[in-house]
Amino acid sequence: MPSKVIARFSVSYQQILDEKGGVDEKLDPKLPDDKLLEIYRVMLTGRRLDERLLKMQRSGRVGTLPVSVGQEAASGAAALAMEDDDWFVGSYREVAGRIARGEELYKSMLIYGGFEEGNISDNAPRMLPLSIILASQIPHAVGLAYAAKMRGEKTAVLAFSGDGATSEGDWHEGINFAATWKAPVVFLVQNNHWAISTPLHKQMNNRTIAQRGVAYDIPCLQVDGNDALAVYKATKEALDRARNGEGPTLIEALTYRMLMHTTADDPKKYRPEQETEEWKKRDPLTRFRAYLVNKRIWDGDRDGELEETVKSEIDAAIEYYRNYADYKLDQPFDHQFGTIVETLEEQRAEYLKYAR
């Protein structure tokens, strides 16, 4: 049936670093050296923290645990594109991003050790706790942004989700709210190609996740999520637009979950190993390091030094966690309500009689 076209849309893809760390000079955002080094430090810290957490889990020192190995650029570089006053709204696969925001390393241990105390950080006041209910954080991000906008603040919100999470109703509802309200939020989807055992083609019929932005008429694009420069640049531009009142953006960062979904998962059951091998070549750390070396702001000598620093930070965190004793048994009662509730106090007494 012939007809007239009334609207056209397109989705573009952006990559700045190639797989060997070569840079597209025209696209290079030319970040100052210290910013570049910070990106590298954050990504490496995230990687090493994950590795240690995995070991801690295997030896029973923490519980079930998701790790972000392979995805350090997508959250780490994005978070470093934020301003201090911006809000960070994560899911649970943004270890590097949380470190970038200043979260103490022992906080992850507390969380995975089963302590609410891990959820909050004075160093990163504008960061919500991990969001485990997929996509439920998306409307929260919109509400944070609305409040900021209403007060006339120049702050934006960066909200993460996974590829699988984009199937949830909350995701859709939240982004539609943001688009309608022109709320200052950037939605960054870490498309790591799997939702536990579910590959993209069982999750959706799409060529890209970015095109979901078309459903809300907001800017949307796909970036190489293992390319820290591309992630940084796209996120920075989108956050700037948000702060300038131009509304939300959807960024799809193509990346890969190199390891298991969580420590309770075994990817051998569903995922071809050669796929993982292929993605190893696109490791965000190796590529970025090569870029730094090419730029001559990094060399092999500095690796040991950085590894040493990171290791001792993690050691200190483990030590802190091991000795963690600063907690109250009846904390659940302290933080149930902001007012005293009689019947709850009766229950507290019963709780304390048995808690130990």
Binding site: W87, E116, E117, N119, I120, L128, P129, S131, I133, S136, I138, P139, H140, A141, V142, G143, L144, A145, Y146, A147, A148, M150, R151, G169, D170, E173, G174, N176, F177, T180, Q331, P332, D334, H335, Q336, F337, G338, T339, V341, E342, T343, L344
Partner: protein, 326 residues
């Protein structure tokens, strides 16, 4: 003193609170320009503008989710769900996030928000417009669930809910919205959450009810007392959770008999918890089983049969008589 309906009382409370505290805003489907489908939010858009009286897209999960973000970031959103029958779409956010905001962040982040919704039968509407499911919310630790029964208490309890530092689900008996007017104090004094209200004192029998059933029950009791000379204490539950078990138990310790009148289905409705609390705190004073007058455990029928589902005056009356005669 003016006489007000519950609609007017709630509307007034919203006006006054938005005036008093500029972090309060209202939002929901059709609440701004249209003033809400029941006109509870009339005039707020004109007075406070589109930023503080906000028509939202049509998505209940999105509404409560966005409200949580706003609440964490310094606002006090008062959201409206058009009918409680659509509020189950908010339950995942309520249970999973709203109710946990304080506990999971050790009070660093809090969720001072109110989610208002009309509930209950009696308006000859389509399916899903007559439900009484306060128990879903009341079974969600971290929420407070409040149901007023009169214009004055609706006003005071809503002020309390808005000023409360924690999330409150505020369910309004739509059948009572315009059913009667009441002398009214508009003094901006908040009521107290988690407290019953003793509507009338008595020695022989304790009756507990709330929402639209309170009014009906009160009417039945008046006639019953006149007819029989019995001395009946009537308690308005007001807050479903956390429930004020002590006030109820104290009354039952005095009277030894109790009837609960609830619009909700029987299984796991608030009456079950009331009976459990009486069991915990006053069992040995009971001289008769506590009688439950409730909706039946069937899907809410369409309105042609709705009145058979909702406790009727004869059912309530018989329950009083049987419990006294036991």
């Amino acid at each position: 003193m003016p006489k007000l309906t519950m609609v007017q009382a709630i509307n007034l409370a919203l006006h006054q609170e938005m005036e008093r505290d500029d972090t309060v805003l209202i939002m929901g489907q059709d609440v701004a320009v249209n003033g809400g489908v029941f006109r509870l939010t009339d005039g707020l858009f004109d007075k406070f503008g589109p930023e503080r009286a906000l028509d939202t897209p049509l998505a209940e999960g999105g509404i409560i989710g966005a409200m949580l973000g706003m609440a964490i970031n310094g606002l006090k959103p008062v959201g409206e769900i058009q009918f409680s029958g659509f509020a189950y779409l908010t339950l995942a956010q309520l249970e999973g996030n709203v109710a946990r905001t304080r506990s999971r962040s050790l009070s660093k982040f809090t969720a001072p928000l109110v989610l208002r919704m009309p509930y209950g039968g009696g308006v000859r509407a389509l399916e899903h417009h007559s439900e009484s499911k306060e128990a879903y919310f009341a079974h969600t630790a971290g929420l407070k669930t409040v149901i007023p029964s009169t214009p004055q208490t609706a006003y005071r309890l809503l002020l309390a809910a808005i000023r409360d530092p924690d999330p409150v689900v505020f369910m309004e008996p739509k059948h009572s919205y315009r059913a009667f007017k009441e002398e009214f104090e508009a003094d901006e004094e908040a009521g107290e959450l988690s407290r019953c209200r003793i509507v009338r004192e008595g020695e022989d029998l304790t009756v507990v009810s709330w929402g639209a059933m309170l009014h009906r029950t009160e009417k039945v009791i008046e006639q019953f007392v006149e007819d029989t000379g019995a001395s009946v204490e009537l308690i308005d539950l007001q807050t479903i959770a956390p429930m004020d078990g002590n006030t109820i138990a104290q009354s039952v310790r005095k009277t030894g008999r109790a009837v609960v009148v609830q619009e909700a289905q029987r299984t796991l409705g608030p009456a079950s918890e009331i009976i459990a609390l009486i069991n915990d705190k006053a069992l040995m004073y009971l001289e008769a089983p506590v009688k439950r007058v409730t909706g039946f455990d069937v899907v809410m029928p369409y309105f042609a049969r709705e009145n058979f589902q909702i406790p009727s005056e004869p059912r309530i009356r018989d329950a009083l008589a049987e419990t006294l005669a036991f």
